[in-house]
């Protein structure tokens, strides 16, 4: 019989009780780990063999209930899915295990996920539709129509993206990637009749899609490949195509790219700021703008822009390929 190889790993586990403690502490547990163990195995071995007071959440053990998510070395993972030694390969033999959100920690790795659910509530996470009480036929959805959901329905609401999103970390009003993916899931459903009701929610300043910083972390972290940022882009498109886009700094900012490319091939960077700010918001940028001009980073005349070659071709393509309206 071949011997099972193990590796000695130190787990620094976040311990905290919101009812009795001011500050958390980190307790070290040293374990011999085999190549097939996942993080949840380690938590179980600590709880069952070393320290019964450790608290964490687990249920399905199959990557489908979404309850066991924690952060290891800062990366949000599903404890029941993530192989320990692959984490060791990336982060070394000392692994810090923390709750998804330290500021929402209740007991050790368990957090209060209330904000996650209330963001879902906010976007009306259900089909809005007049349904006959006694329908005579089924409500058929073709495979093509189902494909329009773009796998947004694979979300298991683990919160990994929500608690890794830097925009949400700073601006608590922001709806966040998971709830946006959910909003998209219903907007893309042929049976939904929400009209502009839901789009207006995800289009609101501060809360809505415009405050995403496009860091792509939600796409990176999602254990189910839901790719929330892709859905956020699709929501942006829906806002424009439904005609609910308001004329504000964020929408002007997106639209200007097309105008500038049609004219110069390039983005007129100074022009982008001026157009987005509608002129009068420019006072915020004067100091930085003046410094940039002094250093030769910007031209005193914002309409001097380098041009691409083959402008005729570019203008023609923009005209014939673009259908978006603002």
């Amino acid at each position: 019989m071949s011997e099972i190889k193990t590796q000695k790993i130190t787990f620094k586990v976040f311990r905290f009780n919101s009812e009795t403690d001011y500050l958390p502490n980190y307790i070290d547990y040293e374990l011999e780990v085999t190549h097939e163990e996942v993080v949840l195995d380690i938590l179980n071995r600590i709880k069952w063999g070393m320290d019964g007071s450790l608290s964490y959440r687990r249920s399905c053990r199959h990557g489908i209930c979404g309850i066991c998510s924690v952060k290891v070395a800062g990366k949000a993972i599903l404890a029941c899915k993530e192989n320990v030694l692959s984490l060791v390969a990336a982060f070394g033999t000392e692994l810090v295990i923390e709750p998804l959100s330290i500021k929402r920690a209740m007991k050790d790795l368990i957090i209060d996920k209330g904000d996650f659910w209330s963001k879902h509530d906010q976007i009306k996470p259900y089909l809005i539709s007049e349904i006959e009480e006694y329908p005579e036929t089924e409500n058929l959805v073709t495979p093509q129509q189902a494909e329009a959901l773009n796998e947004a329905d694979y979300c298991i609401q683990c919160g990994a993206c929500h608690y890794s999103c830097p925009a949400l970390e700073i601006n608590e009003q922001f709806i966040g990637p998971a709830a946006f993916a959910k909003a998209f899931r219903f907007e893309a459903d042929v049976r939904d009749e929400a009209g502009n009701e839901r789009l207006n929610i995800i289009n609101a300043p501060e809360e809505g899609v415009w405050d995403c910083v496009k860091c792509m972390e939600c796409a990176e972290v999602c254990p189910k490949d839901v790719n929330p940022i892709e859905k956020i882009t699709q929501l942006h498109n829906m806002v424009f195509s439904a005609g609910v886009a308001k004329n504000n700094i964020a929408t002007r900012h997106a639209v200007y790219f097309k105008d500038s490319i049609a004219k110069h091939g390039q983005l007129n960077e100074a022009g982008l700021v001026i157009y987005s700010e509608k002129g009068y918001g420019m006072y915020k940028h004067l100091k930085v703008g003046a410094r940039m001009i002094a250093k030769g980073k910007a031209h005193i005349n914002p309409f001097i822009v380098p041009k691409s070659d083959k402008m005729d071709e570019i203008a023609k393509l923009v005209k014939s390929s673009s259908s978006a309206k603002f």
């Binding site: 997106a254 790219f257 250093k295 673009s322």
Partner: protein
């Protein structure tokens, strides 16, 4: 080594707000014997915003840019993280969806072009590491940067989503990236480890969500400062613009004075090669470079 030749997609920023990036790119390429043929026909990639308004137009324009690299039979090299992401995202979507590719090609045919999917697309950072080689680069270092603690700032769009980048960025782990650290070491410098090195600087929301953007910039510079960095280095002109020019908004947002010199990776390499600060455009920085 046979001569390395690439089609250079400059993006807009290197031609406008970060002229020093263009200067230093050309200066080090010349020293390294890398031929860069500028894609003068290329348009802006849409910077991750055009697709919010008009996704199809963004695909057509990015596919068109790739066509011009294909016509030259070359790998396209980008010098902007966001250009890299947008171009690569277009390539990935067209290569895996023949129907979408056909729709895009129908438009391109109107101007006599066809997207085939033959050219690779690589950020210059990875072209240097994979094709030129850090060992070869080390041999060219005449002024090792050994007296400097240098904080690498990776920028999101070169490392995330890794699914899009993994084939062109040497399977960089987005949570524990190495490439820029390795480049710093190859230039003889000391690389600084800090939590924000792979985080976002907030550039893309600067106008729409100024507070969020300012806090992210502040956190990044603060993280580098608190870990004793003398300066920062980045492969992305957008990150550069944000970190180099927005320190006042950032300081206000985080309640503490934050400011560091920030270099483009090309400038860092250039300094190690003994190229003068002037040729590398250090005089164009807003956060003054006071150590050369």
């Amino acid at each position: 080594m046979s001569t390395l030749k690439y089609a250079l997609f400059t993006g807009c920023t290197a031609r406008q707000s970060t002229p020093e990036q263009m200067m230093s790119t050309m200066a080090i390429a010349e020293k390294m014997g890398i031929e860069l043929e500028i894609l003068e026909e290329a348009t802006c990639c849409g910077a991750s915003h055009l697709q919010d308004f008009d996704d199809f137009l963004s695909l057509v324009l990015n596919a068109r840019n790739i066509c011009y690299a294909e016509k030259r039979g070359m790998t396209m090299v980008t010098i902007c993280n966001t250009c890299q992401l947008n171009t690569m995202m277009t390539k990935r979507r067209l290569d895996k969806d023949p129907e979408l590719k056909a729709r895009v090609n129908e438009k391109l045919a109107e101007v006599g072009l066809e997207y085939k999917g033959e050219s690779e697309i690589k950020h210059f950072l990875y072209a240097i590491i994979d094709d030129f080689g850090l060992e070869n680069l080390k041999k060219m270092v005449v002024k090792p940067l050994s007296q400097f603690n240098i904080a690498p700032f990776y920028g999101c769009h070169n490392i995330r989503p890794s699914e899009i980048h993994e084939e062109s960025n040497g399977h960089e782990n987005a949570y524990a990236p190495r490439s820029l650290d390795d480049l710093i070491l190859a230039c003889g410098g000391v690389s600084v480890n800090y939590a924000e090195k792979n985080k976002c600087c907030g550039f893309h929301a600067e106008l729409q969500a100024p507070h969020t953007a300012a806090v992210l910039t502040g956190n990044a510079i603060m993280g580098a400062m608190d870990n004793n960095a003398d300066w920062m280095v980045t492969p992305c002109p957008l990150c550069h613009l944000k970190l180099d020019t927005q320190y006042e908004h950032a300081s206000k947002a985080v309640g503490r004075e934050v400011k560091l010199p920030v270099l483009h990776m090309q400038q860092m390499i250039g300094l190690a090669f003994g190229i003068s600060g002037k040729e590398l455009g250090l005089q164009h920085h807003v956060s003054e470079v006071n150590f050369v």
